[in-house]
């Protein structure tokens, strides 16, 4: 029961923080939407980092590493360190300066003026909303996946229909999702973007600290780093895949399996010598056939999994992190900065923050391959490892609170952002300047946020068994496909409205095509392993360049406005 009390206590602290930031709220829409441009370097770093790291970073990375091994880090984390840092530096600072100078509150306001087009906003708005929703879904799904295993057995009489039999009596995902949504809504309502930034900073510190603590205890339970390094599943001489160890809860230590436990067999590989190799510790792809119990019938069902990462997949994944350049919630965070100097800390420290969070998660995921059943849902790997290896309810509660912190620190910004763009870009946009009072604008934004939360919650319940990593990748792919739009808007004077519309439409069509081919959210590669985001990006960039070159350039006053002379 301690676990649950700690989680409840953490949620209460957040509500208290929301109440505190509400007292600092100045009552204006500008304060609600962009915190009156008052956020300093540390809060900016924490809120930007907290926003980009969600269930995807903790739950998703551990699950992906459990499936594919340590290559997950290079695939997403180290390349994100490089690409995000460059985007903050090359795109973020310019957008902040233009936003502050011309009074923009949203991305769409910037694009409308840059491309001299009202309709561009109406085209972009539904696309941005549709792409943010999967991002919200991964948070709510991830939270449900984390809480159920760690509370298993607490309410055996009440919650009798668990996701898997072992989690019977645990708090079900529908209840976790509901509570998380309500808590986030509360502090966003009270404090707006300042409340979100303060809650993000607090939550980012919590999840980073808890991540390090979780890692320490897991390493201790595994007998230290050296021992832990030998835990991942191993391939034997005959091509059988085995687990050499198990964790004995009573002894509180690793015990060798005698003989090693068979969990699968090698299906295919391009490598000739795989004897005694641990495929989770390298990136050479191998395909392994495992078995898992059918959740309803209990029958053993075979399934195949590719461990490792094909080279072409690794290379083309670099297009995924470009998505941060087009995240509308990140644009809003950039606008909250007090001045350009506030970006300096974010540019420098963001890659290190990613490393601090991702390295432990990726290691835990690869070690888990040698201890957990291969059929366990990937999003549940982190919780299952905590439950098995840490055990202590107090610590498990704190660590689970850390995971929730990562999830909620993204949800708040996304909810707030959707309310902001709906109010400013759709409702207020065409009306006379004094048509709406500040109080009315706030009411509209809050109402839209409630609608979006309700829709997202229902969708999350319908898709609760989706892999959060794969779902996130589809969301990121969509934003990456739109990246040529923001980059050309800032760096190419010749980019035109028609080019922008063509770029958006091509991005939408190519993304929708591949999303359909993936079966609406599954892992999907083109040909030898090309990430669809790479193709969508080039198609969108090509459309922007070609159509812009064949249409009239923007008016000179527009060019002067967005490309001021630097001499």
């Amino acid at each position: 029961m301690n676990v649950l009390w700690i989680i409840i206590g953490y949620l209460l602290v957040l509500l208290l923080l929301g109440w505190g930031s509400g007292r600092m709220f100045r009552g204006t829409s500008k304060d609600f939407f962009v915190a009156s441009h008052s956020i300093g370097p540390f809060l900016l770093l924490m809120s930007v980092f907290g926003t980009t790291m969600t269930a995807f970073a903790l739950v998703g990375s551990t699950g992906k590493s459990f499936e594919r091994g340590i290559g997950t880090y290079g695939l997403m984390a180290s390349i994100s360190g490089l690409v995000h840092m460059a985007i903050f530096f090359l795109v973020g600072i310019r957008l902040w300066a233009l936003g502050k100078k011309h009074g923009y509150l949203t991305q769409i306001q910037f694009f409308r003026e840059r491309f001299e087009s009202q309709r561009l906003g109406y085209l972009l708005f539904p696309i941005l909303v549709l792409l943010v929703i999967p991002y919200l879904l991964i948070g709510i799904i991830g939270a449900g996946k984390v809480i159920e295993p760690v509370t298993a057995g607490l309410f055996p009489q009440i919650f009798t229909n668990p996701t898997i039999p072992a989690w019977s009596g645990g708090v079900p995902p529908w209840l976790t999702g509901l509570v998380i949504c309500l808590v986030v809504l509360s502090y966003v309502f009270l404090g707006g973007s300042r409340g979100a930034a303060m809650a993000n900073a607090f939550q980012t510190l919590v999840f980073m600290a808890m991540g390090v603590v979780a890692f320490y205890f897991i390493v201790q339970s595994l007998g230290g780093f050296v021992q832990a390094g030998s835990v991942p599943m191993r391939i034997t001489e005959s091509g059988v895949v085995v687990q050499d160890f198990r964790y004995d809860k009573e002894l509180g230590q690793l015990v060798a399996n005698e003989p090693p436990k068979k969990i699968g067999k090698l299906s295919s590989s391009s490598s000739s010598n795989l004897t005694d190799r641990h495929p989770h510790l390298w990136r050479e792809p191998v395909t392994v056939e495992f078995q898992k119990k059918h959740p309803k019938t209990g029958e053993l069902v075979p399934f195949e999994r590719e461990v490792g990462i094909p080279f072409i997949t690794f290379v083309t994944y670099l297009f995924i992190p470009l998505s941060v350049g087009m995240f509308p919630h990140l644009f809003q965070h950039w606008l909250t900065a007090r001045n350009a100097r506030a970006f300096k800390l974010t540019v420098i420290a963001h890659p290190i923050c990613i490393m601090i969070v991702w390295v432990p998660c990726v290691l835990i995921g690869s070690w888990a391959s040698g201890l957990l059943p291969p059929g366990i849902p990937p999003p549940a790997v982190l919780s299952a490892m905590l439950n098995m290896l840490v055990g202590d309810p107090l610590l498990t509660g704190l660590l689970t609170a850390g995971v929730l912190a990562a999830i909620m620190s993204s949800l708040d910004s996304q909810f707030l952002c959707l309310g902001t763009i709906f109010t400013n870009d759709i409702v207020v946009n065409r009306s006379a300047k004094d048509r709406y009072t500040d109080a009315q604008k706030l009411r509209i934004a809050r109402t839209f946020i409630v609608v979006i939360v309700a829709v997202t919650y229902l969708l999350a319940m319908a898709l609760k068994n989706e892999n959060v990593f794969d779902l996130a990748i589809w969301c990121f792919s969509g934003f990456s496909a739109l990246f040529p739009l923001v980059f050309s808007a800032l760096y190419w004077k010749r980019a035109t409205e028609a080019g922008a519309v063509a770029s958006i439409l091509v991005a939408l069509v190519t993304w929708a095509y591949f999303f359909h081919k993936s079966g609406y959210g599954g892992e999907y590669f083109v040909g030898p392993g090309i990430v669809p985001a790479a193709i969508c990006f080039f198609a969108s960039a090509g459309a922007m360049v070609l159509v812009s070159l064949f249409t009239s350039p923007p008016a000179q006053p527009t060019i002067d406005r967005f490309f001021p002379s630097q001499s």
């Binding site: 340590i70 490089l82 840092m85 300066a97």
Partner: protein
Amino acid sequence: MRAFWLIFLGLLLIHQDFWNWSSEEIIAWGMPVGLIYHAGFSIACSLLGVWAVCRAWPAFWEQYAAQQDETIEGTTEKNLINSSK
């Protein structure tokens, strides 16, 4: 800025560390070479950030944003309404 782009492209190239592809050698702290290399890569990205902030800081944009002539809330909407008429 050209130097920033050159270093950025250099880092992009060395990110594809195919020479570590098939090695599972544990180097330190239970980390195989493929992971420790990329953790080092993250530190290199941060160092590029330090360099960018110290040597290629876009001071122009900082000054541009500080000019107060158009920073009136509502300018955007007013402009759009005028332009759409």
